[in-house]
């Protein structure tokens, strides 16, 4: 797999973690960050996370996608991307 960029993210408890950025996608004026912590499932597949990227007071925040409609929309976006 092609090595991507490493970004540093701070968890809510202050823990810092360096993750590999895979992609930043845009959908309905929202931006989503796709990343991996390098974890793998038993099958060998890499565990991929996706989260909403927002800017608050000059800092980046990763917000949960908690809305089902938004999650469906993001999945639809990714489906379109991989099937293009």
């Amino acid at each position: 797999m092609v090595e991507g960029r490493i970004i540093r993210v701070v968890d809510t408890d202050g823990t810092q973690l360096d993750v590999e950025l895979i992609s930043i996608l845009e959908n309905d004026n929202n931006k989503y960050l796709v990343y991996t912590k390098g974890e793998k499932q038993k099958s060998g597949n890499i565990i991929i996370y996706i989260t909403k990227l927002v800017v608050k007071q000059g800092e980046y925040y990763l917000d949960n996608i908690v809305n089902d409609k938004e999650w469906d929309s993001v999945k639809s976006l990714m489906s379109k991307l991989i099937n293009k």
């Binding site: 360096d18 992609s23 949960n64």
Partner: protein, 249 residues
Amino acid sequence: MKLGYSNPVITYEEIVNALKAIIDCSLNDNYLDDFNYLNVKYESEVKTDLDEKWEVALRKAIKDLEKAIDSSSKVIKNNLEKELQRIENDVLKMNSLYLIGQEKRKLASQEVFVQKLREKSLKTDVLYEIPKEDSFSNIDNIDTNKIFSDFERNAIINFPDFFKEEIAIAKGEEEKDDVSLNDLYNTIELEPIPIEDYAKPEELKPDGDVDLYRVSLIRKAIDKAKEKNDPKLVQMLEERLNKELGNNK
């Protein structure tokens, strides 16, 4: 059919049945060294010496035949067992190859998926990119441009269940879980994608004055690098800052 000088009453059917019994015994591994199933009867109801000779000859012939059948059946059985073992091995090998192929295909599918995500990504240069000369393990001297998150709550793209769900929805089978793997992986186009087909990615910019924002980030990074007493990193960041300021002129 009559056999024997004194015409013992052994019918053709009795001999056939006896042979069948021998064959059954041999094939079933339940061979009984007993000839009582051949019920020889004599017209005179008294066994003569000649009858005795014929009976001995007949029993010997049956014994030989029984051994021949027994031996043949064992050879056939052995051959069948070998053939069965060979087929089982072939099936096992085929299954293994199929499963390995499926696993390889799954992994390849995810790689294509991730690759497409990378290639479709917006520009990410607003995010702080760690220089290549700073290894992953030596990243502690970078302490700026933090992104705040709650990792445990971020959504996981569960591959390939993600696609499984998509297929189920497309088929109107949202309640069903038994979407076939072939359907699942056939949805992923594994052909390479020509780069020229991609739309030019737009730059990701946070709200507000982007240039000032970048400059402020780099300056913060320089301060941190100075605190860490890392002249190499300071120099690199200053070059980046100059470049950024130069671009703004």
